[in-house]
């Protein structure tokens, strides 16, 4: 059943009719447009996440170190969940940055490998690359690090549904199903 539903969702993703949400399309500069995406994403704003640089199919971002985001109070290391959210977000943005005309994306799956703990007290940076954009699916990988991607904290590989909101109207998730 889950499989059927996902196939149906993926099939919907093949329609190109839904225009990008107005908030995501603000301005013509890609960096400004992606920064607008973050402002209108409450969880990204709550983490203080920023996008620092954008190129076609590539996005660089950062989440500042904050004591209230710590996952291990003994060491002061930032929680894994914060990295999951940062990486998921900038990977989604890299998929959007790979498109000629932006649409919405939804994560199908992601896998994170932790190479080491993040250094306490330091901001976590990340860079994402959408290495394949298909009509329905985008494949993206990213690393999180403090100084250089050569010394990564974590690596992620994920798949996104392209144009995930196709056929779903504004507020679809709060309406009663008929």
């Amino acid at each position: 059943m889950v499989g059927d539903r996902r196939r149906a969702l993926v099939a919907k993703g093949m329609s190109d009719e839904t225009p990008p949400p107005a908030a995501y399309a603000a301005g013509n500069d890609p960096l400004e447009r992606v920064k607008a995406m973050i402002r209108f994403t409450p969880q990204a704003a709550a983490l203080g996440m920023e996008v620092t640089r954008i190129e076609p199919a590539r996005v660089w971002g950062r989440v500042p170190y904050r004591p209230d985001l710590v996952g291990d109070p003994e060491t002061g290391v930032i929680a894994g969940g914060v990295l999951t959210t940062l990486l998921d977000t900038i990977c989604g943005m890299a998929a959007v940055a790979a498109m000629e005309s932006p649409t919405t994306v939804a994560t199908i799956d992601l896998r994170i490998d932790y190479m080491r703990a993040a250094e306490p007290g330091r901001d976590v940076l990340a860079e994402a690359h959408c290495y394949k954009l298909g009509r329905s699916i985008a494949f993206v990988r990213a690393v999180a690090y403090e100084d250089s991607p050569d010394n990564p904290i974590a690596h992620v590989a994920c798949a996104f549904m392209v144009n995930s909101s196709a056929g779903r109207k504004f507020g679809a998730n709060v309406r009663k199903k008929t």
Binding site: Q43, A45, P73, T84, D88, T107, D113, Y114
Partner: protein
């Protein structure tokens, strides 16, 4: 010093700042743990639908897996994550979300744990997670 396992787990979660950021609450029946993530506006990742951010749904399942593993291995400390894989099955609606984890195997060095997150019906999970974690006793060894 708390006496019941429920109090110990609740107290351990309370000490994690990020668990407070997500406002997580533990419910323990016997040795089975359910974590509750009450809906809050700051958890939204897609304001159009609106839908919960995939990252926080993943984080909820990861914290559940870590806590359930700490209970199963009778450890006061939370294990370290080696890797996690998350499958997203449905978009998370703006309502309370629950998660439960099952420790599949505790090896000498590595433990394998699966977790699931759901909202209205447990039979319709919104996401699943499988992860490998360092078995608490041998951390740093």
């Amino acid at each position: 010093m708390s006496d019941t396992p429920q109090q110990r787990v609740a107290a351990a979660l309370e000490r994690i700042p990020y668990a407070r950021f997500l406002n997580l609450r533990a419910e323990l029946k016997g040795d089975e743990l359910t974590l509750v993530m009450p809906y809050s506006e700051h958890l939204i990742g897609n304001p159009m639908l609106p839908a919960l951010h995939g990252g926080v749904v993943g984080a909820l399942m990861e914290v559940t897996a870590l806590t359930q593993l700490a209970i199963a291995s009778k450890s006061e400390r939370f294990p370290k994550t080696i890797d996690i894989g998350i499958d997203y099955l449905r978009s998370g609606r703006p309502v309370d979300t629950f998660a439960r984890a099952r420790v599949v195997k505790i090896g000498r060095r590595v433990a394998n744990v699966q977790a699931e997150a759901w909202q209205g019906e447990k039979s319709q999970p919104i996401a699943t997670l499988h992860g490998h974690f360092m078995t608490p006793e041998v951390e740093g060894g």
